[in-house]
Symmetry: C2
Subunit: 89 residues, 2 copies
């Protein structure tokens, strides 16, 4: 594995794992009042585009990072939208 | 500009701009109590590695997205660390 690949996978590991605590907290508490709908909407859409970009470029660090981050981010966004529709905030 | 490049710059625009409201809010209020030190430390380090990875791969969408996100994320992290040292939380 080249230094560039190690860099890519380390970057993927760090940015992806930074979203894990938030996703676990949101699933555990179901509390999304302090989370911004705008931020998570933009971010989730952006991560989806990064994933397609990674697939186009056949860049596996980009693909793995954005596939996992998309699941985490979409989960948080999903709970937020559920709360907005069925609860308050 | 190819479709892949348009995808990359759109992804860059979306994920970067999703951090703008948080950075402005943090600079305006200086309140970082609800922000996770662990999340922003991992994320800032990860974005720095993505930037170096983008430079290595000469991928301009990756470079521009992560250069701007690094400034935003490091600013938020800086205020958080300042508050932890000189104030409470």
């Amino acid at each position: 594995m080249s230094i560039t690949e190690i860099l890519g996978y380390s970057a993927a590991f760090l940015t992806t794992s930074s979203f894990l605590p938030q996703a676990f907290l949101t699933l555990k508490t179901k509390d999304t009042r302090s989370l911004s709908l705008t931020m998570y909407s933009l971010f989730t859409m952006g991560v989806l585009l990064w994933l397609i970009y990674g697939i186009q470029k056949q860049d596996f660090a980009l693909i793995i990072a954005n596939a996992i981050t998309l699941i985490l981010s979409a989960t948080i966004l999903g709970v937020k939208i559920y709360n907005l529709i069925f609860k308050q905030g």
